[in-house]
């Protein structure tokens, strides 16, 4: 191998340079250079020469090389979102062949709104899954936030009468506990949001759709503080903690809403979240901001990397990717601004609100995971907890915080799915909600073993599940078939995940 010969070559000049044992100031001066900075190699050759003859010179590749490298990675077990994207295409083809109504504009828009609740919960779950943990309570926890939101709306802010005195004080006490636990582990955002929930609840702030949504989010954060503390500090396995809480929160929802009861969300703003559409002008504005922003960010970053001589993808590939996003975005925007109403009396058109909602969460989540120190630490803890601890990362804090994020984001999911049906019943967030959300993340390519996954996996996986449910529904398949097919798809995704790990482990070292 070439490394041996190259290594031997350096050995020669390094030996010369060792010389007599120096301890004086001069050596100290070189020391600083050698410890850092580009002048490191001046004692051997010019820096550029050193970097050039140093093996790492593949900062840029041709498109062909990049594609070959990608194929090699996939063969090595790094599938990423590829299986889910392929599955998405297959499902689209199959269902549009089998059902006339599948590829209609009305159905597509409906499908988006149907899948969004689960998808958003899945986005929060990605953070937990990245640590190799699981949050089985995210579904019923989202149900709790939905029921508090509905109760607050229906009782015009008077939760004391809505819940009954005992339950109300227990609820407030739980919020206080959440604040304290978050402060203990210094998860500031969790403490802040839980405190806001406490204020809204105690002050009896009158009903207002925006306050309701904020309340749901904050109650979600408070729930996450409690889960996170039990997992991260007390050290109970997340599977057990969240299984217990899954049952407990299901009971809490029932208590808040009452057996057989339903709380209607009679409010235009809350109803519009999942059922409203942007105007045509706003739809196009969204397209310009989203696609333009994406293009600007990706291209600026790409050319700045090229300029600085950093590892970068081939320009052609980047351009193709940006072009594809812009064209697809434009096409989707155009189609969604057409009238999709089946009756002649009303017109329904415009991009549904759920699209910008998911996009915003996608952008924020991706930014946090890819660009911030916090996100890097999440991957590190998920990859090797002990290495992260030795690197000085506060592992306990990171582990608690992901549960806060998961439950808070699940609350946002709850707002969307409650808005879709226009009411909250005792089953809110129960049943298959959580399993579908976990399924969405895993199908999209997030590993159950931790350390691998991205926010967009949740969106892709969520789309796969939404299409399966919607398509089978259109084909008049009974619920049994829908469940079985969904289960099999999840099994398939988990197998792909396990297989990819096996392949990666077997890859040559």
């Amino acid at each position: 191998m070439s490394d041996t010969s190259a290594g031997t070559a350096t050995t020669g000049d390094k030996n010369d340079e060792r010389g007599p044992a120096p301890t004086g100031g001069e050596a100290g001066a070189t020391a600083k250079n050698t410890a850092k900075g580009p002048d490191r190699s001046t004692d051997k050759a010019t820096p550029s020469a050193a970097i050039a003859d140093f093996g790492i010179d593949t900062t840029s590749q041709t498109t062909g090389e990049a594609l070959r490298a990608y194929v090699a990675r996939v063969r090595g077990g790094e599938f990423g979102s590829l299986p889910a994207l392929l599955g998405l295409v297959v499902l689209l083809v199959v269902f549009s062949a089998l059902s006339d109504s599948f590829l209609t504009l009305g159905n597509i828009a409906n499908l988006l709104a149907q899948g969004t609740g689960t998808t958003i919960i899945a986005m929060g779950l990605v953070f937990v899954l990245l640590l190799g943990e699981i949050d089985l309570s995210a579904g019923t926890a989202s149900g709790v936030t939905a029921s508090v939101m509905a109760l607050h709306l229906v009782r015009n802010g008077n939760l004391l009468s809505g819940m009954g005195t005992t339950v109300f004080y227990l609820f407030a006490a739980a919020l206080v506990v959440a604040v304290v636990l978050a402060l203990l582990l210094r998860v500031w955002i969790g403490a802040g949001l839980s405190a806001v929930a406490l204020v809204i609840v105690l002050a009896g702030v009158p009903a207002n759709p925006w306050v309701e949504m904020l309340l749901a989010l904050c109650v979600g954060a408070a729930i996450g503080c409690i889960t996170g503390f039990l997992v991260a500090k007390v050290g109970i396995p997340s599977f057990v903690v969240t299984l217990a809480l899954f049952l407990a929160w299901g009971g809490v929802v029932l208590q808040f809403i009452g057996e057989g009861g339903t709380l209607g969300l009679r409010n235009d703003v809350l109803f519009a979240v999942a059922n409203g559409n942007l105007s045509t002008a706003a739809s196009w504005a969204l397209f310009v901001v989203a696609a333009g922003g994406y293009a600007a960010v990706v291209l600026t970053r790409h050319f700045s990397r090229l300029r600085k001589g950093l590892v970068a993808q081939p320009t052609t590939l980047v351009a193709v990717r940006v072009g594809a996003v812009v064209v697809l975005g434009a096409a989707a925007t155009y189609l969604l601004t057409l009238n999709r109403s089946v009756s002649n009396v009303v017109t329904i058109s415009g991009v549904p609100y759920v699209v910008p909602i998911v996009l915003v969460l996608l952008v924020i989540g991706t930014f946090v995971l890819d660009r911030t120190r916090y996100g890097r630490h999440i991957y590190a803890v998920g990859g090797n907890k002990e290495a992260a601890r030795r690197a000085g990362i506060n592992v306990t804090q990171i582990r608690m915080s992901v549960f806060v994020i998961c439950s808070s984001v699940a609350a946002l999911g709850a707002i969307v799915y409650s808005s879709k049906v226009g009411s909250v019943d005792p089953n809110a967030g129960g049943g298959n909600t959580l399993l579908f959300a976990v399924g969405a993340a895993v199908i999209g390519g997030t590993s159950l073993f931790g350390g691998k996954g991205r926010i967009r996996d949740a969106v892709i996986g969520g789309a796969v599940l939404a299409i399966i449910q919607n398509g089978l529904g259109l084909l008049k398949q009974p619920a049994a078939v829908v469940s079985i097919v969904t289960g099999l798809v999840l099994l398939l995704a988990a197998s792909v995940d396990a297989l990819s790990r096996r392949r990666a482990a077997a890859a040559p070292r």
Partner: protein, 257 residues
């Protein structure tokens, strides 16, 4: 003899009922390589982890630059300028080389990472270590060979402006040429005025680079001597029996309890 940069006095450490370190005194001098030797399970890695703040010590004191310090966690050690290459490397497989090298100390403003800066610094450090076999600094560590990972772990430790570098069997997975490079690096670090601790089972390496040799025997410091004052066979005897002539602990047979 140069100034002690790091001094341990009477360090004790137990894991539950197992008393691993007994009243260990250990000195690291600036500008010198101190080899820490001892049999498997003697407590070398444990001692290093105590210095690095991974394990809390039960008793004993730590002096850094003459001042008494308390190291409560890896951050404290890093802030003092103590860097460690762990025996198990402590790398995150799912992160790439750059991300691993800056783990826990990422550069950037207000929590937002400055990838360009980190990538350039990582490349310079690796270039200075003459790592020729890695294709890209953006390769995930999972895809590296054992020796390459070891090199990354070493690069991670020398990236910082540190005062003391502890290397726990850094050449264990390395080929002939890479071992040579690491030994040269160890020497160079000492020449730059750093205190270097090298743990190794290879006596040739130890005698080649070390200025002083410290020998642990069943968790006790058997001897701490200048390399020139001892012979190969004496060190081997110290390692295996805790005693060699008038060197070593008085009653090694009692130490086993």
């Amino acid at each position: 003899m140069s100034e002690p940069i790091l001094e341990l006095r009477g360090i004790n450490k137990s894991f539950g009922a197992v008393h691993v370190l007994h009243d260990v005194d250990f000195t690291v001098r600036a500008g010198e390589v101190t080899a820490l030797v001892g049999d498997n399970g003697a407590g070398k890695s444990t001692l290093v982890k105590c210095i690095a703040g991974i394990h809390p010590t039960d008793s004993g004191e730590v002096l850094f630059d003459g001042r008494q310090v308390s190291i409560h966690g890896p951050k404290d050690a890093a802030d003092l300028g103590i860097e460690v290459v762990y025996q198990d490397l402590a790398l995150c497989d799912n992160l790439d080389i750059v991300q691993n090298m800056f783990l826990g100390r990422e550069r950037g403003k207000a929590g937002v990472l400055d990838e360009a800066d980190m990538e350039q610094a990582a490349r310079r450090t690796l270039a200075s270590l003459s790592v020729r076999t890695v294709k890209s600094v953006r390769t995930p560590v999972a895809a590296l060979s054992g020796g390459q990972r070891q090199t990354v772990a070493i690069a991670k430790a020398v990236l910082w402006d540190s005062k003391v570098v502890l290397l726990d069997e850094p050449t264990a997975a390395l080929g002939v040429a890479q071992t040579r490079q690491v030994l040269d690096l160890v020497r160079r670090l000492a020449e730059q005025g750093l205190g270097v601790v090298l743990i190794s089972h290879n006596m040739n390496d130890v005698f080649e680079v070390a200025d002083r040799i410290a020998c642990l025997y069943l968790g006790r410091m058997a001897a701490e001597l200048p390399t020139k004052d001892v012979s190969h066979s004496q060190v081997v005897e110290l390692i295996t029996a805790g005693r060699s002539g008038d060197l070593g602990i008085a009653r090694p047979d009692m130490a086993a309890v």
